[in-house]
């Protein structure tokens, strides 16, 4: 593996500090990410939870360096991998980080894979380009990988095209591709949203197993509070481009500290009990071109008071060790 200058093995695996991303469009500047902060340690699963348009996928793209630019621009912040700020690297150096150190799987495997090449060719490409392997060796490794992600008859299926696989199998191919070069960080952007529940269970089980074997850090981007409760160690809840609450998984479900998290938890129907009328978060998420002053959630919040409607936005208050919430009234929300 190529050595990245300045890598400090003792530094945190991944750290995102005050990340800002905006999209400059003809309709105005859409502020997709407005100061995202989080970190990740080896073997840990961090869930980034949020609804459409909260900036979770854009954050992932910024970390990977695959943001469409223009219109997307990173205006501020750092993405540090083992102490190296990735945003300061040249494109050549970033290519070495991608897939080697930090890899990503996407929601829709069919559009993420190239339809005109076989799965084996696309997997082998990684080894040939990043590792300089011969075609024959690359092919052998591809078969190995497909076996690791438990695709039956990997030896013959390596010659199939993406459309010949079912949705679940295709997602396995994506996972194989992401893990090909033994990355230390895997970002999974809604990996099971397009799949049926029984297939989702298979894929989440596979991801957890591979993560354990490799002691990999996993960032799981999702809107599904059920999946998060099943696999995450820590959760970052995003709203309008900010991490509004960050906490260990047990704490957040037992006692949310931010009104948005609380409302979100109350608004989902549950499988194990028949509820009364669901609690509703009134209104809509804000347009990213016109984010409300102060706390972005204030127009929808039942705790909102005057300070919430004024700038500056609430800072990340320390609620407990390893736990923050961007709400002036977190004590009230916690029920203290």
């Amino acid at each position: 593996m190529d050595v990245l200058p300045g890598v400090d093995p003792r530094a945190p695996l991944l750290e995102v500090n005050d990340l800002h991303v905006e999209f400059r469009t003809q309709y105005g500047v859409a502020k997709a990410v407005n100061g995202a902060n989080f970190w990740l340690t080896p073997g840990e699963t961090l869930a980034i939870l949020g609804e459409s348009g909260c900036g979770k996928s854009v954050t992932a793209q910024a970390i990977m360096g695959i943001l469409d630019s223009p219109p997307g621009f990173i205006t501020k912040g750092q993405v540090k991998y083992r102490g190296v700020d990735l945003l300061g690297l040249s494109e050549q150096q970033r290519r070495k980080v991608r897939a080697n150190r930090i890899a990503m799987i996407f929601q829709d495997a069919l559009s993420a894979l190239n339809p005109v090449y076989t799965v084996g060719f696309q997997l082998g490409e990684l080894f040939r380009i990043h590792r300089g392997m011969s075609r024959a060796d690359a092919r052998k490794r591809s078969v190995d990988l497909l076996e690791q992600v438990k695709i039956p008859a990997a030896k013959t299926r390596v010659n199939d095209y993406p459309h010949q696989f079912s949705g679940g199998m295709r997602q396995r191919v994506m996972i194989a591709m992401a893990l090909a070069l033994d990355p230390e960080v895997l970002i999974a952007d809604e990996p099971t949203t397009a799949l049926d529940v029984t297939v989702q269970a298979q894929i989440m089980g596979l991801l957890a197993e591979l993560q354990r074997q490799r002691n990999m850090g996993l960032i799981l981007i999702t809107h599904d509070m059920g999946v998060v409760a099943d696999v995450a160690d820590r959760i970052s809840v995003m709203y309008a481009g900010k991490v509004v609450e960050e906490a260990p998984v047990y704490d957040i479900y037992a006692r949310p500290a931010h009104p948005y998290t609380k409302a979100l938890l109350e608004s989902i129907p549950r499988l194990d009990q028949k509820g009364q009328e669901l609690n509703v978060i009134r209104g809509l998420p804000p347009a990213l071109t016109d984010i409300p002053k102060g706390c972005a959630f204030n127009p929808r919040c039942r705790y909102a008071k005057d300070p919430c409607r004024q700038d500056p936005a609430p800072p990340a208050y320390a609620v407990a060790p390893h736990r923050t919430a961007r709400c002036h009234f977190f004590r009230e929300v916690l029920g203290e």
């Binding site: 609804e51 459409s52 079912s166 949705g167 679940g168 199998m169 049926d196 529940v197 029984t198 297939v199 989702q200 269970a201 298979q202 089980g205 809107h223 599904d224 509070m225 059920g226 999946v227 998060v228 409760a229 099943d230 995450a232 998984v249 047990y250 479900y253 037992a254 409302a263 979100l264 938890l265 608004s267 989902i268 129907p269 549950r270 499988l271 194990d272 028949k274 509820g275 009328e277 669901l278 609690n279 509703v280 978060i281 809509l284 998420p285």
Partner: protein, 335 residues
Amino acid sequence: MSDVVLETKGLVKHFPITQGIVFKTKVGAVQAVDGVDLQLRRGETLGVVGESGCGKSTLAKLLVGLEKPTAGSIMVRGQDMVRLRGNELRKARRNIQMVLQDPYTSLNPRMTVGDIIGEPFEIHPEVVPRKGRERAVQDLLDTVGLNPDHINRYPHQFSGGQRQRIGIARALALKPEIIVCDEPVSALDVSIQAQVINLLERLQNEFGLSYIFIAHDLSVVRHIADRVAVMYLGRVVELGYDREIYDQPTHPYTQALLSAVPVPDPRLRGHRDQIVLEGDVPSPANPPSGCRFRTRCWKAQDVCAKQDPTLVPRERSPHPSACHFAEIRDVVHGH
């Protein structure tokens, strides 16, 4: 509650698979729906759950008459919808309306909201006289929680949740007794989902509607349904009240399906029965003999391949279950 408003008997829909361009010869059939018997009672919500390809959307299309069944009957108010023609069919259809999944593609972008919601009146002019239509559309907008002054706006000026409300208003226009909802909330964010679910429940109480609620999200179905039918490869494999299906499932497929749904409570992690099924759903063009679930079932024995289990109550299943070895197993609650 025993007042049945809709009943299907032996409902079958096979889509032919043909070969050749000039002389199309039939080489097989996709058995999308293969013998479904259901009853819908007045004022109740019947949930239909299952994974992609199980035939639940085809069932919805059959019920509202968008597809013609290969065999079977759909009885509404004592009339067989399948056999009705012309004017009688048109009249009968008024009574059974549909809410579609994707509010982005199911509303014509070139029509105003008023035209979209008022269009059913063009086809059924007897419902509201021409003069009263604008008023009627505004009332409908108000009923579903939209601003009646927005009657001249276009769909793109509304958010996803609001668009789904427009779709619901359109379904209500003809004052039907039955509404078939095909995945009405699956395209929406969770916070918006709750708003639409609450709206559907309120409308049901207000107008005494009966819903067929089709969804792949089992938690949503539990919330809204009184009874639930679980489908697998074109057939109903288990049928019962929500508590019977969720707390005492007896069909192995239902059990596997329920155990795969994540519960938003980390304390249950590792304390729930997890059944992970192997492999994928077989092709509906070539379903397994006998019980269709046997290829993925851990209980399967020889009899399952030979004898097709019928949907009836069994010794260890107080509610109908299509499994020779039906037995209660609680997979939802932690232990």
